[in-house]
Amino acid sequence: MSLEQFKNRTVGTQVYKTLDLGETPKSGMDRFKQVVKRTFSLELFVGLWVTIREMGNALFGGNMHTVKYPFEKLPISPRYRAIHDMLRLLESGHYRCIGCGLCEKICISNCISMDTRYDENQRKEVSEYTINFGRCIFCGYCAEVCPELAIVHGGRYENASEQRAGFSIFEDMLTPIDKLNLQQEYDGFGAVTPNADENIKKTPLAY
């Protein structure tokens, strides 16, 4: 499923059909005629045919609608906001997070807490990073505010737990270094729009 489908706000083609119900019978004779007509036009058998056709389609046409949930899963929207992922830079493999702390600041349920320090190269390094998923309301502000597309929402939505507080640390959410080639760019909240290239304008320098 691509993002374009989800950006289309006018869902459906809005072609409504009005049922031809005929005229409501007024006299007793009209009502009698309606009963006779409905009886002998065998309308009831249309219903029987529809159900047996659907049964045939389901059994032999591979049209069964059931998803055996724990074993099969439906695809979810790229805009879906589930458990967070921390992405890495594809070139160097270093994590993208620059320790700016914007996500911690903007988090409206105060569930992100982080600590940073300068490393030996005088770069910001994330020393502590936890998200309390018992508090997180999955609003997506952290992913939207992140200037580096480092914290994003992933697709893990099965997050039932035995305790109310459930913490994830940075390393849990970070893409494993050996799975770097499988890292997916996030299409959802706060991501670069598909037409971002068209919106780029040259910075006017000649004032």
Binding site: L48, E54, N63, T66
Partner: protein, 349 residues
């Protein structure tokens, strides 16, 4: 019709009848349980679902799971209920359903062999087991009467349980009972006039000449009327007023749980099988005794009617009580009476 007895068959003993009764009880109870599985599966397929899948292969052991659940559930009798009647009512439904089955042919005649693999069977060896537990010559009257008596089950259950939904359910039982029982009797009267007997065996023999001699060709109107009335008799979907969940919670069965509820259920499924058997024998030729596997034919016909009941449940909405009464009194009963009159004139001429 000269006689219903086939001369060269051995004598029916009391032991044979008892064995037959046990067989009917065991097999029909098991079939009722299996029927719930079939119903859930067929309804699921018609709605493009899978139905029970997880207990056993294709969910086949779901019946066992349901049975264990029904038997081990707490037996609750409401505080303000009339406790005696509350406890008797499910037994009425189940018992009358099985009593009705005692005078319809369920399986073919057979004789228990004296020896199996060189081992003599004690006590029951050589006993002849008849196809009908009691071949009374008013079979149809007896079956219809028993099924009508079975309506006391829902009626008493609804009134005894001190629950408003139960009261509404039993009121609807009375309405439905009065409406369709007339149609059932009148619709089956015309085939009885043609055959001139009330015995199922006579009906079967009268249609022994193949598909062309089935009574459905002579009495198509009576067949349709009986089928409609049969759906009402077994509380199946177009007429399931008694316990329609969307309207009256569960109707007469609201306060029932566990095995008491299960007896209502077994009774309902046994009634479905009984109606299917009557329709197969009276209108569709019944079993064919001319060749060895002729009894398979009636199994197929009964299966078809059973499937039809599930099919209709998947396809059609149910009617309101006033629509049921309108249908029975203003449409079906006049048609049934006209059918009888026309049949009578044809027979006389």
């Amino acid at each position: 019709m000269e006689t219903t007895l086939v001369e060269n068959l051995p004598e029916v003993t009391a032991l044979g009848v008892i064995i037959k009764a046990i067989i009917i009880l065991a097999v029909i109870s098991a079939l009722a349980g299996f029927g719930t599985y079939i119903e859930r599966k067929v309804l699921a397929f018609m709605q493009r679902r899978l139905g029970p899948m997880h207990v056993g292969p294709f969910g086949l052991l779901q019946i066992a799971a349901d049975g264990i659940k029904l038997f081990t559930k707490e037996d609750i009798v409401p505080q303000n209920a009339n406790k005696l009647i509350f406890k008797i009512a499910p037994a009425i439904t189940a018992a009358t359903a099985f009593i009705a089955l005692s005078s319809v042919p369920v399986f073919p005649d057979f004789t228990i062999p004296e020896m199996v693999f060189g081992v003599t069977i004690p006590l029951v060896g050589g006993v002849f087991v008849p196809s009908i537990a009691s071949d009374i010559n008013i079979g149809i009257l007896f079956v219809l009467g028993m099924m009508a008596a079975g309506l006391y089950g829902p009626l008493l259950a609804g009134m005894s349980q001190a629950n408003k939904w139960g009261i509404i359910g039993s009121a609807r039982t009375a309405v439905q009972f009065l409406s369709y029982e007339v149609v059932t009797g009148l619709s089956i009267l015309a085939p009885i006039m043609i055959v001139g007997s009330l015995s199922f065996v006579d009906f079967n023999n009268a249609q022994a000449g193949g598909i062309g001699s089935w009574l459905i060709w002579q009495q198509p109107v009576a067949f349709v009327l009986f089928l409609i009335a049969g759906f009402a008799e077994t509380n199946r979907t177009p007429f399931d007023l008694l316990e329609h969940e969307a309207e009256v919670v569960s109707g007469y069965a609201t306060e029932y749980s566990g095995m008491r509820w299960g007896m209502f259920f077994i009774g309902e499924y046994a009634n479905m099988i009984t109606v299917a058997i009557i329709a197969s024998i009276v209108f569709l030729g019944g079993y064919d005794s001319s060749y060895e596997l002729g009894w398979l034919m009636i199994i197929l016909k009964i299966s078809f009617f059973f499937f039809l009941m599930l099919w209709v449940r998947a396809a059609w909405p149910h009617v309101r009580p006033d629509q049921l009464m309108w249908l029975c009194w203003k449409v079906l009963m006049p048609i049934a009476v006209i059918n009888i009159v026309v049949t009578g004139i044809v027979i006389m001429v």
